[in-house]
Symmetry: none
DNA sequence: AAATAACCGAGACGGTACGTCTGGTCTTTTT
DNA sequence: AAAAAGACCAGACGTACCGTCTCGGTTATTT
């Protein structure tokens, strides 16, 4: 992910090369406070007045940041949204449980909660990002990347289940993942996100679907 | 549907007041030619330069229409998109076939073809509409309505199949429809629409899923 | 305010051209009532919201007249203003009095009262007409004509005075008229119209000026 | 005068609130080049196609300026006209001469030349400003101010003349100035501006008028 | 300590699209 | 045939954002 930080070059996250923490250039560094202020302003504006009121101008003003600063690090509105999403997603832990069903329920519940307005509230942002990705290839790539992250987690869950023999023999895992994701995604896009307590039943249904899908190909 | 015609109202059906067959107003009527020109211009602009170049200003200029006329009948860009979509969808016939599989394949193929760039090209428009429906409740309603139309067709297919005993006993039709729609929709939104020849396999998978889902609830 | 309502009143003006005044009963002809309604509407709109709110559209609507009708007889806003002015001016009687001073005071008082907001209120209209006459030659001509009417009255007053020997010998009457008119006009244009009771003193001053001007050329 | 510069204002005098001494940086400054370009464009458009073609849109386009910039500093067309007038008037020097007559002729000739199409061409602009001042109080104030400038010069001329004993005893200077200005103004408004060589005779007449006016009040 | 380089806030700038309003013309129905 | 009602094309209006740029001022490194 990390759209919008590429210009910074070596960004010393958790010090990768300890000891050799030397900068390659002089001058003041990017302000962490400003970054936080801008993302906060973005979230606040969306929360208060909807995505329609999300204006680069307004974000800059509210964050008491210069427009140049804003544009330097987040060239488009989509970058701001992605910034919010990835900030929120950092909290989502890889689910571990006793079996496939349990892990899947945990995973889906986390995800749906992150999306829901009464949770992380990321749903509409994701929706907006997908829409804009049509006319913004860079954003499309970033979303693909974002999807891959969720993908990886799901892959690990399924592979562990397969190793435990919890999945029908010969199941195409890639197709299975598509199938598992499509349902909540459809609900997200049609604004009918399930409540957390409904997730268990949805997973149940999906697993039944997987069973029926078995043996193909 | 028919967003953007609401101002025209009911144009004299059968004479409401017999004997005194009065019109409610005099004056010129809405021009059919202008309506066609505007939708054509919309389609052309999107085809040539993408949704980003779709400007109310540009549409009016290209259609040689006044901006006031444009705004009178299509208050937002989304109304234009919906106009296009409903114009294209008129062609889609209710599929009829020998059995569930055949009808479903026909239905899905029609739908996917309508969406694909090498078909009706409506996919991106729909995507855009869903995105904008977040901040536009009126549009959200229109989309719900649009979904309902597809829904109805699908319902009829499933009910005929159930009557023929092609579906497992006790299947929740509503859940089944959601399941059937979610996969192609997900592919639409993630810009991985299946090619028409892949649809048959997708339907196959979905039907397997339905079998596994059987007996629930 | 009940201006511009009675479209259906009895249209019997004083028959201008007797005999030929009859029209076939099919189809309406230009109605005196409509003309009055339009001028009334014009006056009302200006009175209520200022010249800025004077719109051909608004005039037509208020007078319950079609825009085409309006444009047929009053092609520009200026024509409407001139219509108002000439309607109001019809009332101004040729002043007659015992001497030059008396007639002049009567004439000027009439004129200034016609201009003042607390009188006929024609002042601002005249101002507007003069302004627009810059870019509207037709209007310029109409104003010249309008000026000529006032001119004629003033000429008669001065000629009677000269015959009575009330004016210095050898006075250039044309220059005198210019001189007499320029002062009130200047006050009109600079929005400092004298109150009626100030007119006498102004005339006094002007007459003194005329005396000083005497004997020239 | 200085309409349309109010936002530039006085830039922070001495620090108002000690203790919380906020930064003094203000960002980019107003561009002189743009100001000149806009006034030039205004003049050119009027010269080429008349006041009717004077459109904010056209001015911005011709000056290659953004509309926002234009509106920021010249909120209305009238402000543009005033800008032109005050730019042109800057050149007009205070006339000095041997006596009242000479100074008055110089003053009036300068003024009339500034107004005439074959001179500064400001006449029609002034006419337009006066007209619009009816419905624009801010403009009315600006014009009052503009008048005051001319007024001051005239006052000085008259006071010098009075000191030299060139004026009748007891003359009301204020009334005299009104009288002197009203004639050329009337000619301006009625589009009959005197040629420069006629000014001397007009001044002659006016002075005669002043003599006649003497001894009043 | 001075010079340098990159950052920052503020905000003016040239542009473009917005949605509204008005000007005139043309069409349809009524009188 | 003239008039009402009103839809139409055209385009200016004033506003809001866009993304770029310039202006002073602030840190931090390098010399």
């Amino acid at each position: 992910m990390d759209l919008g930080k590429e210009k910074h070059g070596s960004p010393q996250g958790p010090a990768e090369i300890s000891g050799d923490d030397r900068r390659s250039s002089v001058g003041a560094r990017r302000s962490e406070a400003t970054e936080a202020a801008i993302l906060d302003a973005t979230a606040a504006l969306i929360a208060e007045s909807g995505y329609g009121a999300l204006t680069m101008e307004a974000v800059a003003k509210r964050a008491r940041a210069g427009k140049a600063t804003l544009y330097r690090w987040w060239p488009t509105k989509a970058h701001l949204l992605l910034g919010l999403i990835s900030r929120a997603k950092g909290a989502m832990p890889p689910p571990r449980g006793a079996g496939l069903r349990e892990e899947l329920v945990a995973y889906m519940t986390d995800m749906v909660t992150l999306w829901r307005t009464d949770g992380g509230g990321m749903g509409p942002l994701i929706r907006q990002c997908y829409a804009e990705s049509w006319s913004n290839p860079e954003l499309a790539l970033a979303l693909q990347e974002e999807r891959r992250a969720r993908w990886t987690m799901l892959t690990e869950i399924l592979e562990r289940a397969e190793a435990r023999g919890e999945l029908p023999h010969g199941l195409d895992l890639s197709r299975a993942k598509d199938f598992l994701m499509s349902w909540p995604f459809y609900r997200l896009m049609t604004d009918r996100l399930p409540r957390p307590e409904e997730v268990a039943q949805m997973v149940e249904d999906s697993l039944s679907g997987l069973q029926g899908m078995a043996g193909q190909r």
